[in-house]
């Protein structure tokens, strides 16, 4: 099978992104690289990025798994909620 990027994969899914509200709050000034590395490796949707010493986060492709909350609650992840009803990912197969 042809290798796909994460964006290719997320592009297969049905999302209804809440543009006005992020269901996850992230401390973008967080500096501990060991902690950052964990989220970069663990998030299945690669919502976390680290570029030029700066942590970036986008909730748009979030698969709502909860991994980042369990790994970094109270550290990088300052708040984690479910998206409001009707928003977020919709698995057609699951």
């Amino acid at each position: 099978m042809r290798k796909m990027t994460i964006d290719d994969k997320l592009g297969l899914n049905k999302f209804n992104v809440d543009e006005s509200y992020s269901h996850i709050d992230v401390d973008l000034d967080y500096k501990d690289e060991a902690e950052i590395r964990k989220l970069l490796l663990a998030c299945p949707a690669e919502c976390y990025k680290y570029e030029d010493g700066k942590l970036l986060f986008a909730h748009a492709g979030c698969l709502e798994c909860g991994t980042c909350r369990v790994l970094s609650h109270g550290k990088i992840v300052t708040a984690w909620r479910h998206p409001n009803g009707n928003f977020g990912v919709q698995f057609r197969h699951g």
Partner: protein, 431 residues
């Protein structure tokens, strides 16, 4: 709506929630099932295999009418190294020979939608997509829920809101999950076509295969790979314990690609087309993570209660979710008869759970989490197995040790006597 009091509110339209709703609605109760997804199943993902026995008790012969994908008739477990895989396979007419012992591959989008329909047909009301924001608590008793600013009241609330049960955490029934208690699963559904699947996997009609593996895909991280055949697609995924992520430099998406590209897997996926990518947590600490199951006016079921086991060769949570939903409903029916929804009366739920296969099996495998944390199983064993199998199946005309001596030497080379004893003790304790 706020002045009306319902008999029961169920939060979460997954397997546990829908099962509870069916049983309560059939008994004539006024039940509200609240689901945050557009439809039941929209937020849910699983590996693939539903052991049917617990749903049989609620809907006998359900497989004749439910949207199951295939009937599992073939089991395969692989120990994988970078280049190879040692497979243990089992195929028998005994597998899934009758409804009580049958297992089925399922896709939750369709399956949960169907199960919710059964609840609605039985008389339950489904509210979706609505996110329950919080539980209403009065004098220490749960009396209802708040959703989109509305307050809804009921005699009892059943929490079936899954592994990320923020609601149980809110009222302190359950602490935040710890990284060693859960694994993350990432999965693709890949369409291959029905005929291609039957041909490649050696299946006929609606026969299916369950194929689990440990070793290479997680590169020595605790975790493994899975492949289940659906009707015209396969579910291909990896599962990695959170506390172990970062042990190697592989990311979760990379683990999945590595699994898909493994020489033992790739040929089966050739020409396939990915149609969905999903991720979900799996509770896997077992008995040690089961929280308080009841309080005044509230019960905890399914993944929210940590009812799940990961044995490496199989993951089970769906049959537990269904059974716990049914038992919660039974406890609610009894509480209604007594006209009392206090913790004391609802403790009957725990008695039912304790006497069911849920606790029997959770106890039987209680040593498994420690066994799974023996890195050797994920790192060394697949390699040892691969070495032995390689030796066994390679004929090169060169003289060598007998296979048994070769195996003994190989194990001795990698493991100290003390480690070997420790490892064997752990394995024995697990049973």
């Amino acid at each position: 709506m706020s002045e009306e009091k319902l008999d029961a509110i169920i939060v979460g339209g997954g397997l546990a929630g829908c099962s509870a709703a069916i049983v309560l609605a059939k008994a004539g109760l006024e039940v509200l099932l609240i689901e945050r997804g557009d439809y039941c199943g929209a937020k849910n993902m699983t590996g693939g295999r539903l052991y049917g026995h617990s749903l049989e008790k609620i809907i006998p012969n359900f497989a004749e009418i439910a949207p199951i994908e295939r009937v599992v008739k073939k089991e395969q477990v692989s120990l994988m190294t970078k280049d190879g895989a040692l497979d243990i396979g089992y195929r028998s007419a005994k597998l899934s020979s009758e409804p009580e012992n049958a297992s089925y591959t399922v896709l939750r989008g369709e399956f949960d939608t169907w199960l919710a329909q059964q609840a609605e047909e039985a008389g339950a009301m489904l509210l979706a997509p609505i996110l329950v924001d919080k539980l209403l608590v009065e004098d220490g008793k749960v009396v209802g829920v708040e959703a989109t600013g509305d307050q809804l009241y009921a005699d009892v609330v059943i929490l079936a809101d899954g592994v990320n049960s923020l609601l149980a955490q809110q009222i302190g029934m359950k602490p935040e999950l710890e990284p060693h208690q859960v694994a993350v699963g990432a999965k693709e559904v890949i369409r291959l076509g029905e005929d291609v699947i039957n041909e490649r996997f050696g299946l006929r009609g609606n026969e299916g295969v369950s194929w689990l593996s440990c070793g290479d895909p997680s590169d020595g991280n605790f975790g493994g790979g899975l492949l289940y055949t659906n009707k015209d697609s396969v579910s291909v995924g990896v599962v990695a314990t959170l506390s172990d992520i970062g042990h190697s430099d592989l990311s979760v998406p990379e683990m999945l690609d590595r699994f898909k590209e493994h020489p033992a897997i790739a040929p089966y996926l050739e020409g396939g087309k990915s149609i969905e990518y999903s991720a979900h947590l799996v509770p896997e600490e077992g008995l040690a993570m089961v929280p308080e199951l009841y309080r005044d006016g509230v019960l905890l079921t399914g993944d929210a209660a940590g009812f799940c086991i990961n044995l490496g060769y199989t993951v089970r949570g769906m049959d537990f979710a269904i059974e716990s939903g049914r038992l919660a409903a039974e406890a609610v029916l009894r509480a209604r008869e007594l006209g009392d929804f206090s913790a004391q009366t609802l403790s009957y739920y725990k008695t039912l759970v304790d006497n069911s296969f849920i606790m029997r099996d959770m106890k039987q495998y209680k040593g498994f989490p420690t066994l799974l944390t023996q890195r050797a199983i994920f790192e060394d064993l697949p390699e040892i197995a691969d070495d032995i199998a390689g030796k066994l199946f390679t004929v090169d005309g060169k003289p060598g040790d007998s296979v048994i001596m070769y195996a003994v030497n190989l194990i001795a080379k990698r493991t100290s006597a003390r480690e070997l004893v420790d490892g064997i003790t752990k394995i024995l304790e697990a049973f």
